[in-house]
């Protein structure tokens, strides 16, 4: 398949304006003739749904939770980047663009990232106008802080709850449209299939999670904003409902899945404590502004941290990366923590953690200043571990956090299926092989508020879209049957092992073999074991209770079934990418200092995978990445 990203010509800074100028418009009175389905109500989905309804389209919004406000964007803590240069410290659109391209280890599209940096400024304006209570200075202007991988302060925040406040802003905008009757809300629905008719996305089939009813919904375009697939690892910082089902089923209907091996392991999370843990908890990257990461210089040192004198501590990030210090990007910080623990320097009962120490900052600025900035995060830590970070250093370890891979989209955010768009974390577009902190919120809102409202008009006005009636359409009937068969097949297994049990085992296999570092032998072995696990799943998964009712074991089993297939795709991609870049670290390809070694001659491309049917090998399509404004360099944070 030839992948056309439809990137406009001309200079980088004019590309988005050029594209907007050539996109056709839908007249004000015609917008109400178009139905648009939005699946997912996180930052990308809620902002898109609200903005499209404001424009006059008929919007149908689906979410898996009881309320759109529960989407996992709500848990983002630290902040959102924007090239406002309010602190006068040398920031600019170009610098945000460059930092993001470099942070992504030169594996993202130049034109997309530049547009993201341009739009970042509008996002802050929009959110402030909605009444998002951003942190302020005494004079009333907005406050900023720093995040990893950059040397300016461009991160806007609302305490440690920035995601919550931005999401509530978008949610409130959406609920306003619901109240006005321009958007219809379908909560507690899980999308089980995409309906493609006449080669175009024309609707979805969803399961009502209360009644079990399989429903068909038709539209002129479908937007997936269903988040990432981090939960494939079982333990991650994602909410427990997060899943790959919507995007994976769209992939099976013909949308290409790009770069599935790119996953972000966040360096500062509360370490794993036991077997019966549903998830891991993130401690915001913003903590690295004031916290210093260290391990004892002596391996296996069991003294309590306060008894270890300064001279016997190794502040390894500051030592290895003097320019960026504790604020190196996430992938670099995570690998360094793993290396320290693998060499026996790790602390805590399992030896799988490192210290994040606030005592210097507390001495410098006073504990009050720390509480003001990080109060809720400190409380969360204390609640989980029983220890106060003001008394003793935090113990942290990397955990799966974000997935850069996702459905392949062109510059208009359209997948390879006409009429199917993909927004936010669910698409692959802007973060390359590693996302910088405070950039996920920026991308989700750029996609939803400022890109899709333009590009969808171009699609709708320029495309022949005959009326579809769900009752008469063969495509809808087949998709419904497919969804019903899937539910019946799961209920028919009647095994003895819970869906959680399979999920946990899958997660462990991936974490060990396709996590922070990967090698060919491990990947091949894991792929084989996952094949076995998948067979066992279909013989032994236990689901009790009917399909026509709330059945959470059935819901989880469906998601795990997709993860078992998806995991193989991740591994295939990780095997194929014989280089190290960003979050994808292949042990075979590293520099003598243990840093990632990219291979630009052979791998400066997006790997977009095409499904060819059950049992058939997947096909790799490559979109070459061309760089005109930046010079490809080895990423250095030293």
């Amino acid at each position: 398949m030839r992948l056309d990203a439809k990137i406009p010509g001309g200079p980088l800074e004019g590309k988005w304006d050029a594209r907007k100028a050539e996109l056709k418009l839908v007249g004000p009175n015609n917008k109400r003739k178009f139905d648009i389905i939005v699946v997912g109500t996180g930052l990308a989905g809620a902002s898109a749904a609200a903005s499209l309804a404001e424009l006059g389209y008929n919007v149908k919004v689906f979410c898996i939770q009881d309320s759109p406000r529960r989407a996992h964007s709500i848990a983002a803590q630290g902040g959102i980047n924007a090239a406002k240069n309010y602190p006068n410290d040398g920031d600019s659109v170009y610098r945000l663009f460059y930092d993001t391209i470099k942070g992504g280890d030169f594996r993202s599209r130049e034109a997309n990232v530049y547009r993201l940096a341009q739009l970042s400024r509008l996002i802050i304006d929009q959110c402030a106008a909605q009444g998002v209570p951003f942190a302020r200075e005494y004079g009333g202007t907005l406050a900023n802080r720093s995040f990893g991988g950059v040397l300016v302060s461009r991160t806007f925040y609302a305490r440690g709850q920035t995601g919550q406040q931005l999401l509530l802003g978008a949610y409130q905008a959406l609920m306003r449209q619901v109240g006005l009757g321009r958007a219809a809300l379908y909560p507690r629905r899980e999308m089980l299939d995409l309906v493609v008719e006449g080669g175009k996305a024309r609707g979805i089939v969803a399961r009502d999670l209360v009644t079990g009813k399989i429903e068909s919904h038709a539209a002129h375009a479908v937007l997936l904003a269903t988040g990432g697939y981090g939960n494939v690892f079982y333990l991650s910082t994602n909410g427990v409902a997060g899943n790959v089902t919507a995007t994976f089923r769209a992939y099976k209907r013909g949308a290409l899945f790009a770069n599935p091996c790119y996953t972000q392991i966040h360096p500062t999370c509360i370490p794993v404590s036991g077997e019966h843990q549903a998830k891991l908890t993130l401690m915001s990257e913003s903590l690295r502004n004031d916290g210093r990461v260290w391990v004892p210089k002596k391996p296996g040192d069991k003294r309590i941290p306060l008894d270890i004198p300064e001279s016997e501590r190794d502040y390894y990030l500051e030592r290895r990366y003097p320019t960026y210090g504790n604020l190196v990007p996430r992938d670099v910080a995570s690998r360094a923590a793993k290396a320290a623990c693998d060499q026996g320097f790790g602390v805590g009962p399992t030896g799988h953690s490192v210290y994040l120490d606030f005592s210097d900052a507390a001495r410098r600025d006073g504990p009050h200043a720390l509480v003001e900035k990080y109060g809720n995060i400190f409380e969360m830590y204390e609640n989980i571990t029983g220890e106060s970070p003001l008394q003793t250093p935090m113990r942290i370890y990397p955990a799966v956090h974000y997935t850069m891979g996702g459905l392949w989209v062109d510059y208009d955010l359209m997948t390879t299926i006409p009429g199917l768009f993909c927004l936010g974390e669910a698409n692959f577009s802007d973060h390359g092989a590693n996302r910088l902190g405070a950039s996920a919120l920026m991308q989700g809102l750029a996609d939803g508020y400022f890109i899709i409202p333009y590009t969808i008009g171009g699609y709708l006005s320029g495309t022949e879209l005959p009326k579809v009636n769900t009752a008469d359409s063969v495509s809808f009937r087949l998709a419904e049957e497919n969804a019903r068969d899937g539910v019946a097949k799961l209920l028919g297994v009647k095994g003895r092992r819970s869906p959680h049990d399979f999920h946990r085992r899958l997660g462990r296999l991936l974490w060990e073999n396709c996590g922070m570092s990967r090698n060919e032998t491990g990947l091949l072995g894991a792929r084989e074991k996952i094949r076995g696990l998948r067979e066992e799943f279909w013989q032994d998964v236990a689901i009790v209770g009917p399909g026509e009712d709330v059945n959470q074991a059935l819901e989880r089993a469906g998601r795990v079934a997709d993860y078992l297939e998806f995991a193989s795709l991740m591994i295939t991609d990780a095997l194929e990418r014989r280089e190290s870049c960003g979050g994808h670290f292949r042990e075979e390809y590293q520099t003598p200092e243990g840093e990632a070694r990219r291979d630009d001659a052979n791998f400066a491309h997006v790997a977009a995978w095409e499904y060819k049917g059950e049992g058939a090998p997947v096909v790799l399509n490559k979109e070459p990445l061309e760089f005109s404004a930046v010079h490809l360099a080895q990423r250095s944070y030293k």
């Binding site: 402030a128 919550q164 409130q172 609920m175 019966h276 549903a278 989980i384 819970s498």
Partner: protein, 257 residues
């Protein structure tokens, strides 16, 4: 550690429901009460029994999805935490822990511990927003908001919409929920143009949804996982009175027929 979980089981909104006791052994102190329910459910599945339905998502106290009545308190006896943050170290080994859904007229039970809180969404849809379309915004720094005022707005905005305030209130009032949103937007210049409209519309919606009224019990503040102050209810009442006094009576257009 071993516990007896006395769990409310209810097939659907029509079923009367009942308590069922479950023994759960092998619980670690750092596990949350939801991890313990997960463990119970895994064992129920292995025995061929239907698991207990309950809601959760983020499991770190911010999404507001979880909400259980634990030993007579919404989100359990520990202050300032959501259900998912309640750790088992809080309960003595061998204890019986009573787990029920949030109970309120406006929160009908869906199944077991799952309730329908969409009434809260409708209260927000009535007026809990700033009417600004995408693309209309001026530079963010052109609207100045003092640091202290922004902090107060943030205190109110911290609400996670879990409904614990409603479950705790003897009148099942959602005044703290609505008051927090009204306060946040009233404190900010951005929310000012539709301040009266918002207070009136949200107050009216509370009644329509079947929420009760405030009678100063302060149970909502005690139960709120984000420690939102009852002073926001006073502000809601003030905003409502002010709006009622200031607003022109609506002119009702009577059409033909």
């Amino acid at each position: 550690m071993n516990y007896t979980l006395r769990v409310w089981r209810q097939k659907n909104s029509l079923d009367k429901g009942r308590f069922v006791d479950y023994e759960v052994g092998g619980v670690a102190p750092e596990m949350s009460i939801l991890d313990t329910l997960d463990l119970l459910n895994e064992r129920l599945l292995q025995k061929g029994e239907e698991p207990v339905a309950f809601e959760s998502d983020c499991r770190e106290g911010i999404c507001g999805a979880c909400g259980l009545f634990v030993n007579g308190y919404p989100h359990g006896p520990q202050k300032g935490t959501t259900t998912c943050e309640v750790r088992m170290r809080l309960f003595a080994d061998g204890a019986t822990i009573v787990i029920e859904p949030f109970r309120a007229k406006a929160f009908p039970v869906v199944k077991d511990l799952v309730v329908d809180r969409s009434s809260l969404d409708r209260v927000i849809a009535a007026g809990g927003f700033v009417s600004v379309n995408t693309g209309n915004a001026q530079d963010a720094n052109s609207i100045l908001v003092g640091k202290d005022r922004a902090a107060k707005a943030m205190d109110a905005a911290a609400c996670i919409g879990c409904g614990a305030c409603v479950a705790a209130c003897p009148n099942a009032a959602a005044m703290l929920f609505a008051g927090a949103k009204v306060t946040q937007l009233a404190l900010l210049a951005q929310g000012n143009p539709e301040r009266e409209r918002r207070a009136l519309a949200m107050r009216e919606r509370l009644d329509l949804e079947g929420f009760g009224n405030c009678s100063n019990e302060y149970e909502c503040e005690a139960a709120c996982p984000k420690k939102i102050s009852v002073s926001h209810i006073a502000r809601l009442n003030w905003e409502y009175l002010r709006a009622a006094a200031l607003s022109e009576p609506e002119k009702v257009e009577v059409g033909p027929g």
